[in-house]
């Protein structure tokens, strides 16, 4: 194989792994949107705060890794429940812009609280994974990315099963489909709203551990959340499969674009390309590849 082709496949391979990890974070967004119709502009901040909590538990308090991750998970679940109760429930039935703004406000709070409570420095979040790249024929892959992609796939599959097969999952889909009918069927709608936010917390905690170990933990980690929007718009806002496909597309596109365009413009294509693609998607197919076709038109 020629070098240019190798380079291309390397970019694709990295894109796939990164894309799966984007999918994990996007899953948190999709879960909330699917169940509650609320839009979470603070998904990146969720990931950041979870990573900060885990790394603080690891380093400042010397907890073992499994305990730190458990603390992170528990903290994010409690946070999800509390958030739904205190902020989102009073906003039920209000215009969508109000919910968007509330989560933007929440994002600002988290960006302030994280460093205020746990310090501003960049922490690392060491996972017991070797750092030597794995060579697979002409490619090399970093183990962290492989593990991240694996965990993402596992969780995407688990949530897929949850929504299709489990009683709670089916109830949640019912809530998402029509709140009034779900209520009439005896489903405790508010409980499922809270559950959806707690699940978003779980996903964010895992995303925080994986992304934190890759990028280092500080406020900048929240910028990962900016990639959520292209992923969910491309894939469809309420589709778990869509989150995976959207994640893969965004991962591959940004890697390939960065690989070929960055040398000419001096960096930054990674942040630009997914959004350019997203604008295109909004023009052509705003409900995404797998989303419900219920977008409101005027």
């Amino acid at each position: 194989m020629s070098d240019t082709l190798n380079f291309f496949f390397l970019l694709i391979g990295n894109g796939v792994l990164i894309g799966l990890m984007y999918a994990l974070i996007a899953l948190g967004f999709v879960l909330v949107y699917k169940a509650t119709d609320a839009i979470n502009f603070a998904q990146g901040e969720f990931v950041m705060i979870a990573a900060i909590v885990v790394s603080a538990a690891l380093q400042a308090y010397g907890a073992p890794l499994w305990l730190a991750i458990l603390i992170g998970l528990g903290g994010m679940i409690a946070f999800g429940f509390g958030l739904e109760r205190s902020v989102l429930r009073p906003l039920l039935g209000r215009p969508i812009v109000a919910v968007i703004m509330a989560t933007i406000g929440l994002a600002a709070i988290l960006r302030g609280v994280g460093p205020l409570a746990f310090g501003t420095g960049v922490r690392n979040l060491p996972l017991p994974i070797s750092e030597d790249p794995i060579f697979l024929g002409p490619f090399f892959l970093t183990p962290v990315q492989l593990v991240g992609a694996g965990v993402s796939l596992l969780f995407l599959a688990a949530f897929g099963w949850f929504f299709m097969k489990s009683r709670q999952g089916i109830a949640m889909r019912a809530v998402a489909n029509n709140q009034q009918v779900a209520m009439a069927m005896g489903i405790h709608v508010e409980r499922y709203f809270a559950l959806a936010w707690a699940m978003a917390g779980v996903v964010s905690a895992l995303g925080g551990v994986i992304w934190g170990s890759m990028l280092g933990v500080d406020v900048q980690l929240a910028l990962v959340g900016l990639k959520v929007f292209p992923v969910v718009i491309l894939g469809g806002l309420d589709s778990i499969v869509g989150a995976i496909v959207g994640g893969l597309i965004v991962g591959i596109v940004e890697n390939v674009a960065a690989g070929y365009i960055d040398p000419y413009v001096g960096g930054g294509t990674k942040d630009f390309a997914p959004y350019a693609l997203m604008i295109l998607a909004l023009m052509i197919r705003p409900y995404g590849i797998f989303g419900k076709r219920t977008i409101e038109r005027v």
Binding site: A102, G105, A108, G112, P115, L116, F229, A276, E296, V298
Partner: protein
């Protein structure tokens, strides 16, 4: 003269839509004019004048965003970028072609209006969340473009130095000179907005916000008016960007990042959506908030925190307070400071009676 009318008894639509709803308003406006032109700038220290200048700039931007979000019901998370469009357009005109401010300010606004209208095109098909994300994309793409095209951004560090504005050969050097310069623009913006929202266009905006389908049925061309709202709103944003560039003496994209978009959204939510007075309240509140926090931390911060960290804590406290205020206002008082102000006024109007 503390007495007011006992109620609003307009008998014609003309009276109801008048710029001065009551005779006393004229006196109030005259009093404010005297205060802002004659008293305020000469009784304050230069530093405080510079803060008032920041408020005046923010008023223009908040009014613009409120036209879009508060009156037309469309959301934009890209206003920071529209400001940067205005700022760089003006900076290039000023530096390369030596244009005076009375060309640079409208040109910056017009360019931002053009870009804003282009960004607003998707609003024909999408709304709510999708529009929020589309404008977020616009913010990031415009930021990236300015940062990566040296022809726009002036090369090194994407910043262009801009000389102070000149009026008939007189350079507006001090903060006090700038104050009058900015006051003029803020006043024009306020009066223009007041007139806009009581005109045919403004009522069309409000109709679209309240019920877009009904608005279309009574003959409002939704697409045209949505684009118009984006264009007008972005024009204000562009002017804000130019004014800010004059204020700082430099056009730099870092002054117009997504944080700024969110600041302005916070202004109109805290101040009151769909209210001119609310925009002004919000601009004052949000601009003063970090300054008040800094003063507070400088005086009392060392009692609560480690003295070494006090200055580092200010930006975080600002973020937390900011977010908390947005949420508190959204949950408890969606109509913002404007509503609080009306409540207080109504209470005292009939005081000591209950009605």
């Amino acid at each position: 003269m503390f007495f007011r009318e006992s109620g609003v008894f307009h008998t014609t639509y003309q009276r109801d839509m008048a710029l001065y709803p009551m005779p006393i308003t004229k006196f109030a406006v005259a009093a404010f004019a005297v205060l802002f032109v004659g008293v305020l700038p000469f009784s304050m220290h230069e530093y405080y004048v510079s803060i008032v200048n920041l408020v005046l700039i923010a008023v223009v931007g908040a009014l613009g965003l409120n036209i879009l979000v508060g009156y037309t019901g469309q959301i934009s998370i890209g206003h920071g970028a529209f400001m940067s469009v205005g700022a760089y357009t003006a900076a290039n005109l000023i530096v390369r072609l030596d244009m005076p401010f009375w060309v640079a300010v409208p040109a910056g606004g017009a360019m931002a209006a053009l870009i804003g209208a282009v960004v607003g095109i998707p609003s024909l098909r999408i709304k709510g969340l999708y529009l929020a994300i589309a404008t977020l994309a616009a913010q990031l793409i415009i930021e990236w473009t300015i940062n990566h095209v040296p022809w726009i951004s002036g090369g090194v560090q994407a910043s262009i130095e801009v000389p102070r504005p000149r009026l008939f050969g007189y350079v507006l050097n001090s903060q006090r000179d700038l104050y009058f310069f900015l006051l003029a623009f803020a006043t024009v913006a306020i009066v223009a907005t007041l007139n806009l929202v009581r005109s045919r266009i403004g009522r069309a905006f409000i109709a679209i916000r309240d019920q877009d389908i009904a608005a279309e049925i009574i003959g409002i061309n939704i697409f045209r008016y949505k684009l118009l709202a984006f264009a007008i709103s972005s024009f204000y944003a562009g002017v804000t960007g130019v004014l800010y560039t004059y204020y700082l003496g430099i056009a730099n994209y870092e002054q117009f990042q997504i944080v700024v978009s969110i600041d302005y959204l916070a202004m109109i939510i805290i101040g009151g959506l769909g209210s001119v007075l609310g925009s002004i309240f919000g601009a004052i509140f949000v601009t003063l908030l970090p300054i008040v926090i800094r003063l507070f931390m400088e005086s009392f911060g060392s009692l609560l925190f480690d003295p070494k960290d006090v200055l580092n804590l200010i930006p975080m406290l600002r973020l937390i307070l900011f977010g908390a205020l947005i949420i508190v206002f959204l949950v408890l008082e969606p109509e913002g400071l404007d509503r609080l102000w009306r409540n207080i006024r109504n209470y005292f109007r009939v005081w000591p009676f209950s009605y």
